[in-house]
């Protein structure tokens, strides 16, 4: 079977400006992701995992190599993104934000509101549909961000540390919500995070990246059966074993990137 996403020897070099040296963000990343797979990408900060996602979203171009998403038969959009700070437009109400992707695709106002309403209700935001983002808490904003992505209904969902800015409790709740949604839709998802627990809770597979320049170090298949519950998962002995395995690989990288930073400092 051909993979849904095929990433082939991606290399990204940011050209230097003035006295700054050129920076190599990604150094030959190759990855194949199957249709309907939920892959989590974990790595130390600045390892280029966000760059990888932005290339998939067409917000950036690689220096060499390519990343191809194979379209399916449907006319659904190829990819959609969920941003770290939710990225809601402050000038639109929650309902307008959620329906934004459909608006761009030329869906009639009545239909796009009906479709948006479905996901707004699923996310428990019906009371806030006509509120502006500034009136919502961070957690609710990210719920609206998820509703926007699911209303857009892309073939591939790209998620860039969507829960990174939330407190631990809200984060757990939203992880459970995302697992629920994914059970319903079974989309291909690339989920970038720096939290190992989050990656093990959500992913079918966890991909570990090295410190800059980013390379793929290691992959872990996550064995837990679905549907999953974020809390009971944590009591599973395999969870701690996997955590230890992943941490063992990452630890060296984190320390390596710290020493590199210290050496670069004047």
């Amino acid at each position: 079977m051909t993979p849904k996403i095929n990433i082939d020897s991606l290399q990204v070099i940011y050209p230097g400006r003035g006295r700054n040296m050129p920076v190599e963000a990604l150094a030959g990343v190759s990855l194949a992701i199957a249709d309907g797979e939920l892959v989590c990408v974990v790595g130390p900060s600045g390892c280029g995992k966000t760059t990888l996602l932005r290339i998939l979203a067409d917000l950036e171009q690689p220096t060499t190599g390519q990343a191809i998403i194979a379209p399916d038969e449907s006319n659904r959009p190829l990819k959609g993104m969920v941003f770290q700070g939710a990225g809601l437009f402050p000038w639109m109400t929650v309902a307008q934000n959620v329906a934004y992707g459909l608006q761009l695709r030329g869906v009639a106002p009545r239909e796009r509101l009906t479709r948006a309403q479905h996901w707004i209700t699923t996310m428990g935001l019906e009371r806030f549909a006509q509120s502006y983002p500034a009136q919502l808490s961070g957690g609710m904003q990210q719920r609206a961000g998820l509703a926007r992505a699911f209303t857009y209904d892309p073939q591939v969902l790209l998620m860039d540390e969507p829960f990174g800015a939330l407190d631990a409790q809200t984060r757990l709740i939203l992880q459970a919500t995302l697992l629920d949604l994914w059970e319903q839709a079974r989309k291909t998802v690339v989920f970038v995070t720096h939290s190992i627990e989050e990656a093990l809770t959500l992913g079918d597979r966890v991909v570990l990246m090295s410190a800059r320049p980013g390379r793929i170090l290691h992959e872990v298949m996550v064995p837990f059966a679905r549907p999953r519950d974020p809390i009971t998962l944590r009591t599973d002995p395999r969870f701690s074993a996997l955590f230890a395995e992943v941490w063992g690989v990452l630890r060296a990288e984190v320390e390596h990137s710290r020493t590199a930073e210290l050496e670069m400092a004047p």
Binding site: L59, M81, G87, W91, M92, G101, A134, Q135
Partner: protein, 559 residues
């Protein structure tokens, strides 16, 4: 909180008292600085003589024309510069080089090119507003966070989507700010522009006071300028809230989902109530016609449109505040009309109301311009009463003054106003002849309050009906409807009004039927038709009355 507010009221008052005392006791030479009371006295004189109204409306027309002519192209060009680097490269150096030139310094040059007339004054304001706004607008587009563009692109936005869904809305707060700055500029400039080669306008008023050394009048002019500035700022704040509601979400009330189309506006402005706004205007015109002084058919038409616009504005603003007060109250029992039926959002309703008021004001200013200041005070008073009918802490409709306000405004005030537009005179006859219609229009409102008597009592909305109780309220209805016919009869018997107007007595059967219903029913559902039929009675009575006046004119002219 409360204490600081008290202090901020007391502070200026104390200062005024000190100033007054200083002049009275001779600590300050009153030749240089007259006392506040003298300033207010001369302000009163300016109002009474009609000079102030003329000068203010002339200045407002100049500011308005200059502001619109300068700001509109500036916003367009500023947006273009914000999104297109090519446009920016072409225009920026030019705009940036001219921006620091004090535009008042260009006035002589503009006068040389355009002459001393209105054009040069409007052009000076337009040019300065233009440069200020164009630079600020392009800057605010450039300041839009790039993140929003990325979000839009991740959803497949094309360049024109980026403009309409991101660049434009995201820079609206900046655009509004630059418009406010531009308005400040326009206010500053109008004075300077009118110092030179003008013979009317608020700046001229101040300069002229200086030339004849009337310091009190000069200070009165300054007070007026300050008030104008404050009013225009309030107006722009209101506009900002309408265009940029997400900036002040706290002020916002929950917006219900709404339908589309002109139909909902048609319902919201309550077209049936328009006979109340049109009959008095036509009546005033027909009285002028009877006297052979119907000279300006077009102005009658304008007065009609203007009064319909103010009526529409009143209805919409009332919907908004009724809804808001109801929505804010403990029991949520407002009657926000179209808002409650979910046809319009509160914001749309308020916006529509303010737009209607604006149209009414523009027509009003034109009529002031052609007929004189009397209409200015009439119009200002009407708009204020229309707005504060339900708005503000002392909302007329909530303190039992609704009928009285309607009686005065949709009776004598409108008839006299329309008569004045034709004749440029105020007439006692027009006042007297308006009384029957005034009674009936108050009866319409009272029919409404009669129906809502019980529910109004529950939410504590005070109307004459709730104050009088059921029996007294019924009596009030008989007095108003009966008074319509009695006042007409008396006027005819006294020979003040032509006998042909008695043709409106043809409506008596309907009137009697209505009084019977009121006497026998007290349930809202049974009283519902009374409201509609009283409106119908007003329309039929008014139409026949106008017919009577016109027939009397034809009789005397051709008979």
């Amino acid at each position: 909180m409360k204490r600081t507010r008290t202090l901020s009221v007391i502070g200026p008052l104390v200062l005024l008292l000190l100033w007054e005392a200083a002049v009275r006791f001779g600590w300050i030479n009153r030749a240089f600085l007259p006392s506040p009371s003298e300033v207010f006295h001369s302000l009163g004189e300016l109002i009474a003589s009609g000079q102030l109204a003329r000068d203010v409306s002339v200045s407002l027309i100049r500011i308005g024309a200059g502001f619109v002519l300068g700001a509109l192209p500036a916003v367009g060009l500023g947006l273009l510069m914000g999104v297109s680097p090519v446009a920016r490269a072409l225009i920026q150096p030019f705009a940036a080089a001219l921006y620091p030139v004090p535009k008042i310094a260009l006035l002589p040059l503009i006068i040389v090119v355009l002459g001393l007339g209105e054009t040069s004054k409007i052009a000076t304001i337009a040019i300065s507003v233009f440069f200020l706004v164009v630079l600020n607008v392009s800057a605010s587009v450039l300041q839009v966070d790039n993140h929003y563009f990325e979000v839009a692109r991740s959803f497949g936005a094309r360049p024109r989507d980026l403009f309409w869904t991101v660049a434009l809305p995201a820079s609206l707060p900046g655009i509004m700010n630059s418009l406010k700055l531009g308005m400040g500029f326009a206010l500053t400039l109008i004075v300077g522009v009118e110092f030179v080669g003008a013979n009317e306008g608020i700046g001229w008023l101040i300069w002229n006071a200086y030339e004849v050394y009337a310091i009190d009048r000069m200070l009165a002019g300054l007070v007026v300028i300050a008030l104008l500035g404050w009013l225009l700022t309030v107006a722009l704040d209101e506009l900002e809230y309408l265009l940029v509601p997400w900036q002040k979400p706290s002020r916002r009330i929950k917006e219900a989902r709404v339908g589309k189309g002109m139909g909902v506006w048609w319902n919201a402005i309550r077209i049936w109530s328009y006979t109340a706004a049109t009959i008095p205007v036509v009546l005033g015109g027909s009285i002028a016609a009877y006297e052979g002084r119907f000279h300006h058919p077009w102005w009658l038409l304008l007065a009609l449109i203007g009064s319909i616009a103010i009526q529409a504005g009143t209805n919409l603003v009332n919907d908004y505040y009724d809804y808001k007060k109801g929505a804010d109250g403990p029991q949520s029992l407002g009657n926000g009309g179209s808002i409650r039926r979910g046809e319009l959002t509160p914001r749309q309703t308020l916006g529509g109301g303010l737009l209607a008021f604006t149209i009414g004001s523009v027509i009003g200013l034109y009529l002031v311009y052609v007929t004189g200041p009397f209409i200015f005070w009439l119009g200002l008073f009407s708009v204020l009463c229309g707005y504060f009918y339900t708005a503000g802490p002392f909302a007329l409709a909530y303190v039992g003054l609704g009928e009285i306000a309607v009686f005065i405004f949709m009776g004598p005030v409108m008839v006299i106003g329309s008569y004045y537009v034709q004749t440029q005179h105020v007439s006692g006859l027009a006042l007297l002849a308006s009384l029957p219609v005034a009674c009936l229009v108050a009866a319409i409102l009272h029919a409404n309050n009669l129906r809502d008597l019980d529910s109004d009592r529950q939410i504590g909305k005070r109307t004459l009906a709730t104050l009088f109780g059921r029996a007294g309220a019924n009596l009030e209805y008989y007095v108003l409807v009966g008074g319509t016919y009695i006042s007409l009869a008396v006027l005819v018997v006294l020979g003040l009004v032509p006998w042909l107007t008695l043709i409106s007595l043809l409506t008596l059967p309907l009137a009697i039927r209505l009084m019977r219903i009121v006497a026998n029913e007290h349930e809202p559902i049974k009283l519902q038709p009374v409201l509609r039929l009283t409106g119908k009675l007003h329309m039929q009575f008014g139409a026949l009355l106008v017919l009577g006046w016109v027939a009397a004119w034809a009789w005397s002219t051709f008979g």
